[in-house]
């Protein structure tokens, strides 16, 4: 026996590492070739013995032949690539060129991108051989063999683009190395974008957007597909030295050791990498790409992008989407086992995919020095993840075949993890900041081909890695490839969850840190004109801070907002009604401003449920005695909404009701609290409430932010009343409901409608919304708190007739009207 001493070692290792899974230095293959071939066959296209076909670029000739440009500088026109048993014929059209990585036909003939220039190559005498070579673009330096040039096809404006790799792949010693140049329809060369390292291809994605593929290396922890726009900076700063030779303004220098997304916020030109290909798992040096526009002849991936990999001799799929103005998307394994390192892929007129390349110069999985191979669809539909698209709270995962509903409904079917890369000058980089999102919801589409996944978090800046190993098709098949990798640059805004209705007000959130969050404001008092102040606040929160907001009102039986309604102490028959209270279920934060309302049990149930949810709340002024008949028990004890939830309830008017006013004083030891950021001046004509007995204190757990100092009279400039001590008028605390979930709570006893003329109070409340939602990092001292439109609420009090307070339709309170 050979190596008997190794047998035990072999057995020990083979438990985890079977003979098929031997780890090679290039990185493991997916090991899926046998499954892949059922749907996608690789057919070798024989190359005549005297031809060396190190494919660098493909294009389809108008007459249907396929043009092949080679690294050796030849252009062949190939006929017969689609024949059932291919025996293609090769016609040498042009020779003597310099490493070709771009071919494109137009009305005037063939345009070749070779290392030294972009050249129009034509056959003037019509003998089938090129005899004229016109230089279209050589406005860039070329003095190192590694300075490759890749050329795109034309865009609708007639421009072509050239992607220029760096010198030695690290430096930019020559003009515009590391740039994309635009070659315009009228022949001008225009510097277009910088930041390239060593691109492997340039072209258009499935939506027609110009893209390059970039290899792993400095400033690129993995390979990626990047979007190129005019003025983009694509991440590698070496080429930025050439900005003085362009009309573009140079971007700031990137800081090494950061994250692309955070640097992109600082450097507007920095384009977040649209699709990241996790290193080794998804290739090592991705190259030319092409969009499947075969109208289904290539199988179920019409309209998707296919990209080759040089090192691992395989092809991957890509889908992209534009979210909030930023490109991102996913990549998926597709087909491994090609014979050589791929430099380009191309769809033929017959609907097959041609692949070609070389294995010269770098480690390559495929052992053939060059090859021309065709991937063809066998007609069998593989069970694959067709596409992953992002949603505001998760992903939509689409499959090529109906899935088993039972397996699809199980959360453990979806093994998700995320990572991001360091954005740094070093070569490559590890996957860092790993997280494991939890699946919080699964909905299967009616046709069972897509699953809407809700996650506890979708993290911008992270690649979301899907492993659906246990997913099964309805017919029992497992996935050919269990993985997909979605790069999240933007999480799309959640749509406003509440529909339009005449019975409430609804404000769509705009841009801002609150984007996607939903705040419900409940206006149900009879004294302080919350029907005026809350719509104003809701408008401000939406328009200036991005929150979706909904304002609910207490309404009478005529469906009118009616602050004149009696309370049950005055009229035993009164039952209040807050239409739309169901909105609490979709709220991320509720602002309560009710006063002594008696709600039907069904409506109270929504409030109880909200208190159980662990979601935060804000109480304004009378909210601490907001409800009568409140019947919520915790640990066998009846809960008082004011005392227990908000941290205090109205005991008496400490200030003199309707005679003095309140000056807010920041509590010095808590001045650093995020809610107080930018809050400098608070004053309001409402008086100070006492919420605990004389000589007492705020309950334990309450953090006072603001003390209310009664003034002598009702002008902000009035002196303080030395006889009345200041009492807390704003504090924060935590509330824990029946399910044990804790929520942030902020309560202020200020809040008469006139008080909100104070920018400081508005800031206090808006900052509180941020803080309650855990967005304290986004609170900025100088954020915009200006009221939108006119704001002139009536005075507070019960003299309805004189104040002009009467039942009115909801629309009368819409600040946008």
């Amino acid at each position: 026996m050979i190596c008997a001493d190794l047998t035990s070692l072999a057995l020990a290792l083979c438990g985890t590492l079977g003979p098929q899974e031997v780890e090679l230095e290039l990185g493991s293959m997916w090991g899926t070739a046998s499954r892949e071939r059922e749907a996608y066959r690789i057919v070798d296209l024989p190359i005549p013995q005297d031809i060396v076909l190190e494919v660098g670029a493909f294009a389809t000739h108008p007459d249907g032949r396929v043009a092949v440009g080679t690294r050796r500088g030849d252009v062949y026109f190939v006929r017969g690539v689609d024949d059932p048993k291919p025996e293609p014929t090769f016609h040498l059209f042009a020779t003597g060129l310099d490493e070709i990585f771009g071919l494109d036909f137009d009305e005037s003939g063939l345009v070749v991108t070779q290392s030294c220039e972009v050249t129009r190559v034509s056959d003037e005498d019509g003998d089938g051989r090129a005899d004229r070579f016109d230089t279209l673009c050589d406005g860039f330096g070329y003095r190192n063999y590694h300075e490759y040039a890749f050329g795109s096809e034309r865009d609708p404006r007639g421009s072509r683009y050239v992607a220029l790799g760096l010198s030695y792949s690290y430096e930019s010693h020559e003009l515009f190395r590391g740039w994309v140049l635009e070659l315009t329809a009228d022949g001008r060369t225009v510097p277009y974008a910088s930041g390239l390292r060593s691109p492997g291809g340039i072209g258009f994605n499935e939506h027609g957007q110009l893209c390059i593929v970039e290899s792993q290396g400095p400033w690129n922890s993995s390979c990626s597909l990047k979007v190129v726009q005019r003025g983009s900076f694509l991440g590698h700063p070496a080429g930025n030295v050439w900005y003085p030779f362009s009309e573009l303004a140079p971007p700031m220098e990137p800081r090494s050791g950061t994250r692309v997304l955070s640097e992109a916020q600082r450097i507007p030109e920095l384009e977040p990498y649209a699709v990241i290909f996790p290193y080794i798992r998804m290739g090592r040096s991705i190259t030319g790409f092409s969009v499947d526009r075969t109208r289904g002849r290539f199988g179920p991936f019409e309209g998707q992008l296919f990209v080759g990999d040089f090192s691992l001799s395989l092809v991957m799929r890509v889908t992209t989407e534009l979210v909030d103005g930023v490109w991102q998307g996913a990549c998926y394994p597709f087909r491994e086992g090609l014979s050589t390192g791929l430099l380009d892929v191309h769809f033929t007129p017959g609907g097959h995919m041609l692949t070609g390349g070389t294995n010269r110069g770098w480690p390559v999985r495929g052992t053939a020095p060059f090859a021309l191979e065709r991937i063809e669809w066998t007609g069998a539909t593989p069970f694959e993840i067709r596409r992953v698209s992002i949603l505001h709270d998760g992903f939509d995962v689409e499959f090529t075949a109906p899935v088993d509903p039972e397996v699809a409904a199980a959360a453990e079917t979806y093994q998700l993890s995320t990572f991001t890369h360091s954005y740094h000058a070093g070569y490559g980089g590890p996957e860092v900041d790993r997280t494991t999102p939890k699946v919080t919801g699964i909905e299967l589409s009616a046709d069972r081909t897509s699953v809407r996944l809700r996650l506890d978090e979708v993290r911008a800046g992270h690649v979301h890695e899907f492993d659906l190993a246990s997913m099964r098709a309805q017919d029992g098949r497992s996935l050919v490839h269990r993985h997909a990798y979605y790069t999240v640059n933007r999480v799309p805004q959640r749509p406003h969850p509440i529909a339009e209705s005449p019975r409430w007000l609804r404000f769509e959130g705009g841009a801002g840190a609150g984007a996607g969050r939903h705040i419900v404001l409940v206006a149900a008092d009879q004294e302080y004109r919350s029907e005026h102040s809350l719509p104003m606040l809701a408008h401000l929160l939406a328009e200036r801070h991005g929150f979706h907001t909904t304002v609910l009102f207490a309404q009478n039986s005529d469906g009118l907002v009616d602050p004149t309604q009696k309370i049950v102490w005055e009229d035993k028959t009164v039952i209040h009604d807050i239409p739309g209270i169901e909105a609490l279920d979709s709220a991320d934060l509720v602002v309560f401003f009710s006063r002594l309302v008696t709600l039907p049990p069904a409506q109270l149930e929504y409030i109880y449920r909200y208190l159980d949810s662990g979601k935060p709340l804000i109480g304004l002024r009378t909210a601490n005695h907001g409800f009568i008949g409140f019947d919520y028990e915790l640990d066998g004890r009846k809960i008082n909404f004011g005392e227990d939830v908000l941290g205090g309830s109205f005991r008496n008017h400490h200030g003199r009701w309707h005679q003095d006013s309140t000056r807010g004083l920041i509590v010095p030891e808590n001045a650093g609290h995020p809610i107080l950021r930018g809050v400098v001046d608070v004053w309001g004509p409402s008086d100070v409430y006492r919420t605990y007995p004389d000589g007492g204190a705020l309950p334990e757990g309450c953090v006072p932010l603001l003390l209310g100092q009664p003034l002598m009279a009702r002008e902000p400039t009035d002196p303080i009343n030395p006889d009345l001590e200041p009492l807390p008028v704003a504090w924060v605390k935590t509330w824990t409901g029946r399910l044990g979930r804790s929520a942030r709570v902020m309560h202020t006893t200020m809040g008469g409608a006139q008080d909100f003329h104070s920018e400081g109070l508005r800031r206090l409340v808006v900052n509180s919304a941020y803080w309650c939602l855990g967005l304290e990092d986004a609170i900025e001292a100088d954020s915009d708190m200006r009221i939108l439109g006119p704001y002139s609420p009536p005075e507070t009090g019960f003299d309805y007739e004189n104040l002009g307070v009467r039942p009115q339709p909801v629309s009368d309170f819409d600040p946008r009207r």
Binding site: I2, P84, K85, D131, D134, D138, Y145, T367
Partner: protein, 808 residues
């Protein structure tokens, strides 16, 4: 109705056996090799019993597609074949279906069916005189690529014979021509003596060959196919015969045409008249009715016909009753198979039990005739009588280079994906073997591939090859390299490596090893090649498991085996082992002028090398518009073996003229000629990236004339210059004459810089520097010591000047 009438009438007439065929015309594949039970199972499957009978096993392999029949077969043959298949085509698996009819009715039915199957008119084919060259090529191919394995040799003389003096050949006769030699040998030695004895039924075979195994005879081919139809069939046999029983031999279209020409001639089809077949509508319609009534669609499945209902045959002895019986009697109106007695008996004893894995493998190897070339566990292998037809271009590599590899334990030898690529995708690694491994179609081989893997996997103890890291990786890599090279075991003296030919014999390329082989087979094979390949010429490098080379990787056998494996996984970047070296590619010029763009030390990165058959070559630096270098002799060599593009290198020491801008519109004669910014290690960045642009230079391109000579175009300020250079003979010396055509929108001055100093001006219009002498007309030298600068007064419009360059 019509058909029903014929059939019913037919039964009524007195029956006599229409024809009888001897055993030798019966279908017989597998006889003599398989146990009767297994042979019966094979017969059931191959004869497609399940097409008609529900209880006869799984779906059978599909019968040939009949669409397109008119494009390949002759109607006369088809009609004859339908009437009596085994007589027309001995060995066919097609049963007789009209045997129960009276002779005239049988003929009428066959005729109607033919009119139906030839639903469209067959193309008429002009009678062709055989092309001798093509026929000879076809004969050689037929007897070389592997056709003989199943069909037998038709020509005893065409066999491959080892070159004479084989034992001594190693030293002297291993040059790369051996390929051609052996083919020539074939043709020269091939005695065109007598027409081959096509092994037709009943014909007496006087062939010297007596193959031990049943063959698929070809005697009918010449009359069955048109030559074009046969060529098309041979090119893509799987198109019409999807079951893969006639595999795709990987023939090119030309090869298929050659073999077709040869076979047609060899089997009596040459010169066969072919008249246009006109389809009779009435016969066509009756033929269709027959087609349905005879249940042809049960086997010949297609979209146009529904598969007929199947019947139960429980309890029937298929050897004695019904379709399989030697004489089923007049009442039997169904199919009648022509079978040998052995097959017939086996059919009767076939069991319905599920087959063991080894048996399914044996069955497939037999059915697909893998066994005609490959041995596995005592079954099959090359028939000794046919051995001589298995050739190689590398006879010194021994039988391994000639005889297809055994399949014993192949499922444990090959990586699964590689096995798939060989079986399904046509991957091949033995270019020296003249017999070709054919393609059978993935669906036909998939079960066999699965079975081989299942049966063999785990046969050898696993041999882990963990990836070393750090210094260990370097040591393993270097050790592997030294072992493969002449510094170690010298593997590369008999094996190609990474695309580079071995200097000795051309054994298969080692770089694919980790892609193809399992580590366990690899390790076992390297240590004890004879244990897996008895008789192989591969030496034992670790006799008894002990390393011979104690100086490499500590002389540890496992470290060495793993080192080689790891080294080979480096693929293309694996540094070549000592003992082989890729040569730079020599570009020569022996016809039209040759233009080559690339980087070089003589003309920069935007260099254009121009070579002429006259042997005087130049390089133009397109970055600055200057004639940069001249040399005589061979043109250039080009390196195409690394990351970079092919940089060119003149094959002789060139004379460098100058490397700065070649022409200037604005120039102060007292000042310096503007030069490119120097770059240093410390300041590698181009400090003057607009050097050429700033001085008005722009390269516009070039055009080639009918001789391939380029006219270069560039811009200097407002002047456009077209420049071409020709080799002319002046006073018996070959010189390079530059013709410069200026086109200027206005009268202007232009300066050309021709030489970089020190310059010696010899006459008013001649100067030299180094090995170059230039002579001009029209221009005036404004400087001729440190460098040579000529000034030209250009008129508005076009003007021309000539400058001669002589290289000593």
């Amino acid at each position: 109705m019509l058909v029903a009438a014929i059939l019913s009438v037919a039964v009524a007439v007195p029956w006599s056996p229409p024809h009888s065929v001897g055993d030798d015309a019966g279908w017989t594949i597998g006889a003599g090799q398989l146990e009767p039970g297994l042979l019966g199972a094979l017969a059931r499957r191959e004869l497609a019993c399940a097409a008609c009978h529900v209880d006869m096993g799984a779906a059978p392999p599909p019968a040939p597609r009949l669409q397109g029949l008119a494009q390949r077969a002759r109607p006369e043959f088809v009609q004859r074949f339908l009437a009596a298949p085994a007589q027309a085509q001995p060995g066919t698996r097609m049963p007789a279906l009209l045997a129960h009819l009276a002779p005239d009715e049988r003929a009428a039915a066959a005729q109607a069916l033919t009119h139906y199957l030839f639903g469209e008119a067959a193309p008429s084919e002009a009678t062709r005189t055989p092309d001798d060259t093509q026929v000879a090529a076809g004969r050689a191919l037929f007897h070389t690529v592997g056709c003989v394995a199943c069909h037998g040799a038709l020509d005893a003389g065409a066999a491959w014979t080892p070159p004479a003096g084989r034992e001594e050949a190693g030293e002297e006769d291993s040059d790369e021509d051996s390929d051609e030699d052996s083919e020539e040998d074939n043709e020269e030695e091939g005695e065109p003596s007598k027409m081959p004895a096509a092994p037709t039924a009943g014909a007496e075979s006087d062939s010297p060959l007596e193959p031990a195994r049943a063959l698929a005879p070809l005697g009918h081919v010449g009359v069955k196919y048109t030559e074009a139809g046969l060529a098309a069939f041979l090119f893509e046999p799987l198109h019409s015969r999807t079951a893969g029983r006639m595999p795709d031999m990987g023939l090119t279209r030309l090869e298929a045409q050659a073999i077709a020409a040869y076979l047609v001639e060899a089997t009596g089809g040459a010169g066969l008249a072919s008249s246009r077949f006109v389809v009779d509508a009435g016969l066509n319609e009756r033929g269709r009715a027959f087609y349905d009534a005879l249940r042809c669609a049960a086997c010949h499945t297609d979209e146009a016909h529904a598969a007929p209902a199947r019947t139960v045959t429980a309890g029937v002895n298929h050897a004695r009753i019904g379709c399989g019986a030697a004489d089923p009697g007049p009442q039997h109106t169904g199919a009648r198979f022509a079978l040998t007695a052995e097959v017939r008996a086996a059919l009767g004893s076939a069991s319905d039990a599920a087959l063991a894995l080894a048996d399914t493998i044996a069955l497939d190897l037999t059915a697909l005739r893998c066994d005609a070339c490959h041995a596995r566990a005592g079954l099959g292998g090359v028939d000794p009588a046919l051995d001589r037809y298995f050739g190689t271009t590398q006879p010194d590599l021994g039988e391994e280079a000639r005889i297809p590899p055994p399949l014993t334990h192949v499922g444990a030898k090959l990586q699964r994906d590689w096995l798939h690529r060989v079986l399904f995708d046509g991957a091949r690694v033995r270019p020296y073997m003249t017999t070709r491994m054919p393609s059978f179609g993935e669906p036909n081989l998939k079960p066999l591939a699965d079975a081989l893997l299942a049966a063999d996997r785990g046969h050898f103890a696993a041999y882990p090859v963990p990836v070393p890291e750090g210094d260990a990786a370097r040591d393993a890599r270097d050790g592997g390299r030294l072992l493969l090279g002449t510094t170690g075991l010298g593997c590369v003296t008999c094996h190609d490596f990474n695309g580079t030919p071995s200097p000795g014999f051309r054994g298969l390329d080692l770089i694919t090893t980790p892609e193809r082989l399992t580590p366990e087979w690899y390790a076992r094979f390297l240590v004890a090649p004879q244990s897996l390949r008895p008789g192989i010429v591969m030496p034992e490098a670790w006799p008894g498991g002990v390393a011979v080379h104690t100086g490499i990787l500590g002389g540890d056998t496992d470290a060495q085996l793993r080192g080689i494996w790891y080294y080979l996984t480096q693929g293309r970047t694996a540094q070549d082992p000592p003992g082989i070296r890729p040569e730079p590619t020599l570009l020569s010029v022996d016809g039209p002028v040759r233009v080559y763009r690339g980087r070089s030390r003589v003309a920069g990165f935007r260099g254009i090398a121009v070579g002429s058959a006259a042997g005087l070559h130049y390089a133009f630096d397109a970055e600055v518009g200057a004639l940069a270098a001249l040399w005589r002799g061979d043109f250039v060599s080009v390196r195409w073996d690394s990351q970079g593009a092919g940089d060119f290198d003149p094959r002789a020491e060139p004379a460098v003229l100058q490397r700065e801008l070649g022409a200037l519109a604005e120039f102060d004669p007292d000042g310096a000629w503007p030069v490119r910014a120097a770059r240093t290690k410390e300041a590698p960045r181009d400090a003057d990236p607009l050097y050429a642009r700033r001085h008005g230079y722009r390269f516009l391109g070039y055009s080639l004339d009918s001789s391939g000579a380029p006219t270069l175009r560039y811009q200097c300020g407002t002047v456009t210059i077209e420049e071409r250079s020709d080799v002319v003979v002046v006073e018996e010396r070959q010189i390079l004459r530059r013709t410069l055509l200026f086109d200027s929108p206005a009268a202007t001055q232009l300066r050309l810089r021709l030489l970089e100093g020190p310059v010696a001006q010899e006459t008013p219009n001649r100067a030299s520097a180094g090995r170059i002498t230039v002579e001009w007309s029209g221009g005036n030298p404004v400087r001729s010591r440190t460098d040579l600068i000529l000034s030209f007064d250009l008129p508005r419009g076009r003007s021309t000047t000539f400058i001669d360059h002589d290289l000593r």
